[in-house]
Amino acid sequence: MKKAPAPALKCNGCILLAVTLLLYGAAALFAPDTTLAAAEESLGILMKILPILLVVFFLTALLNTFLKPKSIAKHLGEGSRLHGWFIALFGGILSHGPGYVWYPMLADLRSQGARDGLIVAFFYARAIKLPWLPVMISYFGIGFTLVLSFYILLGAWLQGLIAERMLRVKS
């Protein structure tokens, strides 16, 4: 029996990476010092997100190992009710670092049956940044911070509901 050919390697981001490198090249011609500062800034960001990326990597693998598709469907799938929203909103608030770090784990959960609405709600609930709340309070006051946080959670839930409807209608 013939072995199936290995799937071709995809490089979705290679074009964007090439464009970014070209931008750096062009910027370096006109403003070498600022471009160097930009590269240092990027390196700093990379160093900062590497630990979070590692945590997400292990979380993804652990979820895949211990969480069976059946239980994903139960907690985050079509059958999930109030506790699904609670997990999404609470998870969003607790998730740390930039949003794109969480993309692979969320895409993986989605491919295993997690509801679109819950993913959307997770993304929006991330607008509540626990570590930065004291800074927000010092700039805008406790009243603003509480009211905004309440509306963010409400908005996250509503967006989840609307997105789910829109995505369902089109599909």
């Binding site: 964007l16 970014t20 600022t34 930009a38 990379l46 997105a163």
Partner: protein, 143 residues
């Protein structure tokens, strides 16, 4: 034994997914660095008009394009408030800063699909403005 092979498969799947997104991730991080080095808070401040409704829209657009630590948006937002920009616009700006991301759109679309990405970001855009107004009006009502 079964659990062992399941774990192995799960780790290799997670590693593959991480490897696939690495070029895109590096590109996004590179663009974030360029943005932060070349676009100053002063440049962002000059883009506001002084009209609350239009400023709320402008705040959402600028917040959506901007990137960086959320704390930077608080600092710029605080300065904007000090310069007389409305709380509607500043709230929408802060919200759009963390919930929208033009630079990471290609990465999001490649993992979640174009339709999901467009719908999610459009909703986030509209909600940044709505929540901006709701927050400012609620605070006015409470005071």
């Amino acid at each position: 034994m079964k659990e062992n092979s399941r774990a192995k498969e799960a780790f290799s799947k997670a590693l593959r997914s991480l490897a696939t997104m690495t070029p895109m991730l590096l590109a996004v991080i590179g663009l974030v660095g360029l943005f932060q080095a070349f676009v100053s808070p002063e440049m962002l401040r000059t883009l506001f008009s002084g009209t609350p409704l239009l400023d709320t829209f402008i705040g959402t657009v600028i917040g959506g394009i901007s990137i960086g630590q959320p704390v930077i948006s608080y600092i710029i937002g605080g300065e904007l408030l000090g310069e007389g920009i409305s709380l509607y616009a500043v709230t929408a700006f802060i919200l759009a800063w963390v919930t929208l991301g033009i630079i990471q759109l290609p990465l999001e679309a490649s993992l979640f699909g174009k339709r999901f990405t467009v719908i999610r970001n459009l909703l986030s855009f509209v909600f940044a403005m709505l929540i901006g107004f709701a927050t400012a009006l609620t605070l006015q009502g409470l005071s």
